[in-house]
């Protein structure tokens, strides 16, 4: 395959920033913008995955990057996720900063072995001699009327794994800042992209190379009556639920977890200390989803603050169905409102 003999040359030969227009962009455009920024500023950043090259990725996240940075910086891989994961680990251990793409959430399972056994352990295993500064980008979640295995919320596979960071942005600005942070992070990061909101709305995201911290939750809306905690695409329904509650005079604080591992529990705890009530919303199946960890921390550390039982509004404990039924699987705004009202009525 035609990969450039010298990535440095290819990088240097690339045209300067096409950015600076300052027009509002979508979440996925923010991802492209972050990749391009970091590739311009760090020669060791390399993008790899299936169809990420001339095709620009099936979602267009890498659109134009191979044209701009050359085939030595943006590599199509053979069709094998084990291959992608293993090559990525090897490249990272040799000092590159690979940003790999899993084409869809449902295709990342063959990557688990290399991520859990190696990416997450190189630093630990070698006492810091080698480490693994890689990012795995994963278009994540349901609701886009896609075929089977294109709609999975499988973040819980990684949240119990030491050595990883697990991130999920839910706005264009956070997508940009968190992806920059993920690439710069010296340890491996799984970067889930809520594909349902890839193009939900646009906002202005200055292409200034400013990263966001990788370990904080974002309070998207202040409120004193109840805390709604969520991440990923469900931020949409959760904010809608907050709107509906506001119509009834109920002030819901909305927290976007954004980084699941390590969890910034302090921000959640501080909110619940004020509101006394908490609804956790996520798309993944309820049982042993990451919402359980947040509820568990509340049970351990905030019991005396809680005025009502914690509520989880989540995917059902079954597979997300094919698209004729999928919207009945995903937590709806109505379900969130219901749960919030239950919590408000209790205690």
């Amino acid at each position: 395959m035609n990969v450039a003999a010298n990535a440095k040359t290819a990088g240097a030969a690339a045209p300067a920033a096409a950015a600076g227009t300052d027009a509002p962009i979508t979440l996925i455009e923010a991802i492209t913008q972050a990749l391009a920024w970091e590739m311009r500023h760090d020669d060791s950043v390399v993008v790899l995955g299936e169809d990420v090259g001339v095709n620009g990725g099936v979602f267009r996240a890498t659109a134009g990057l191979q044209q701009r940075f050359g085939p030595g910086r943006v590599l199509d891989t053979p069709l094998d996720e084990t291959t992608i994961a293993g090559l990525t680990v090897g490249m990272a251990a040799m000092g590159m900063k690979p940003v790999a793409e899993a084409q869809f959430d449902g295709f990342m399972y063959p990557m688990v072995d290399h991520i859990v056994c190696h990416a997450a352990r190189f630093r630990y295993r070698t006492r810091g001699r080698l480490h693994c500064p890689m990012v795995l980008r994963v278009p994540w979640g349901g609701g886009i009327r896609a075929p089977e295995h294109h709609s999975e919320a499988n973040e819980a596979i990684f949240t119990n794994v030491p050595g990883l960071r697990v991130v999920m942005p839910s706005s264009p600005a956070r997508a940009y800042g968190l992806l920059l942070a993920a690439i710069r992070e010296p340890d491996p990061v799984i970067y889930f992209e809520p594909k349902r909101i890839y193009r939900q709305y646009k906002e202005r995201v200055p292409d200034d190379g400013e990263a966001l911290p990788l370990d904080v939750c974002y309070v998207l809306r202040d409120g004193t009556d109840i805390t709604l905690v969520t991440w990923g695409a469900q931020v949409k329904e959760t904010l809608e639920a907050a709107d509906r509650l506001a119509e009834e005079g109920i002030g819901a604080e909305v927290i976007d977890v954004a980084t699941l591992r390590p969890l910034d529990f302090a921000t959640i705890a501080e909110s619940v200390a004020r509101t006394g009530r908490c609804v956790i919303v996520h798309e993944a199946p309820k049982t042993a989803g990451f919402g359980a960890e947040i509820a568990a921390r509340l049970a351990e550390e905030c019991m005396y603050d809680l005025l009502a039982p914690v509520e989880r509004v989540a995917g059902y404990d079954t597979h997300i169905p094919l698209f004729r039924l999928e919207m009945k699987y995903l937590p709806s705004t109505a379900r969130i409102v219901e749960a919030a009202k239950r919590a408000l009525a209790a205690g």
């Binding site: 001339v54 620009g56 099936v58 053979p78 069709l79 449902g106 059902y316 094919l322």
Partner: protein, 356 residues
């Protein structure tokens, strides 16, 4: 120089792109059967174009076309017996129709309804498989079951040129060799894996030679030549059925359509290449041979095309007429014996529906 091993991989082609024989036809070539299979190929193409049209008008989800693969798919299906098992990827409708799968089932699957996988016939075939090439290992597992139970059945599976890079394909090939299984790995090389061309997948000169890694019988055939497909499959199936073990057959064909209806191949593929591929496509080729030899004519084609249209339309109507599954369908097929918490969620979901 001492030699540890030597290998030779044969290439089969009987009918050239122009529809003229390039040499003697295989012994088993029977005109009546070729007509029957040609009709099947035409049926598949009719189905395919109507399915694409359905998607374009919003009545189907993403759909993977089989345009250009008709000889390979129909030939694979034709080589199998009902009791054999087929583990397809997601485009081999031609093979599946030969096995009894209803076109409406294909449409239901791509229409976002799991019931498309509940084939009325054949009950034991594997469903469509989206995670590339994982089905190959299931086929090997099925072949192992057949061997352990002493059943004279063969497991046939397909993957693409892209899928030949997948580690599961290697695992299937290797275990078929290790256990000497009645297993046929079809590698349908249509030149592209979405936007990635065949040559970027591997440094191997042929995809057939993937089989050498497991010690299988390897063969490359012109997948647009139904004679070659049938002969290649005949050899592989006979070997499998007679206990001589597994095979890898590479079919050289071409994906004339976009990868799926969600894809736009113009982004990455030269129109000239597609144009050239149309010169090699399987249907015109076989039509020429059949016509040249007096087995087919325009009149029969016209009549059959109409019949195909009618049959496909009836299947489309059946598909469009299905009701969406009730909400409890997503709970009902998870466990044979669903746990109480799941039943509680089911009840809540039903209640929610009734309220809505």
């Amino acid at each position: 120089m001492a030699v540890a091993a030597t290998f030779e991989i044969e290439y089969l082609q009987y009918l050239g792109p122009d529809g003229k024989p390039v040499g003697a036809l295989p012994e088993h070539a029977d005109p009546a059967r070729m007509v029957e299979l040609f009709r099947q190929m035409l049926f598949v193409r009719t189905f395919d174009s109507k399915a694409i049209a359905l998607q374009r008008t919003g009545k189907l989800g993403t759909y993977a076309s089989c345009l250009g693969h008709e000889a390979t798919h129909v030939g694979i299906g034709a080589a199998m017996r009902p009791e054999d098992v087929f583990a397809p990827s997601y485009r081999e409708y031609g093979a599946q129709f030969m096995r009894g799968v209803h076109p409406r089932e294909v449409l239901m699957y791509w229409g976002g309804d799991e019931r498309g996988n509940d084939f009325e016939i054949p009950r034991h075939d594997f469903p469509w498989c989206v995670p590339i090439a994982t089905q190959c290992l299931h086929a090997a597992g099925a072949a192992l079951a057949f061997k352990l139970r002493g059943e004279p059945r063969v497991a046939v599976t397909c993957c693409g040129d892209g899928g030949s890079s997948k580690t599961d394909t290697y695992a299937a090939i290797n275990s078929a060799g290790a256990y000497d299984l009645p297993f046929v790995q079809c590698i349908i090389n249509n030149g592209w894996a979405i936007s990635v061309p065949r040559k970027a997948q591997t440094g191997a000169r042929t995809l057939a030679q993937k089989g050498l890694a497991g010690g299988l019988y390897c063969l490359q055939v012109d997948g647009n030549d139904l004679f070659a497909v049938l002969e290649g499959m005949r050899r592989a199936m006979e070997r499998a059925r007679s206990g001589q073990g597994g095979s890898v057959v590479e079919f050289l064909t071409y994906r004339l359509h976009d990868h799926t209806t969600a894809d736009d191949a113009r982004r990455y593929r030269d129109e000239a290449e597609v144009k050239a591929a149309w010169e090699r496509e399987p249907i015109a080729r076989l039509r020429t041979w059949l016509t040249d030899n007096g087995h087919w004519d325009e009149e029969r084609e016209r009549a059959w095309a109409e019949e195909c249209g009618r049959r496909v339309d009836a299947e489309i109507d059946a598909y469009l007429g299905t009701q969406v599954q009730p909400v409890e369908a997503m709970f009902d097929y998870l466990y044979a014996d669903p746990p109480p918490d799941l039943l509680a969620q089911r009840a809540a979901a039903i209640a929610r529906e009734q309220r809505a």
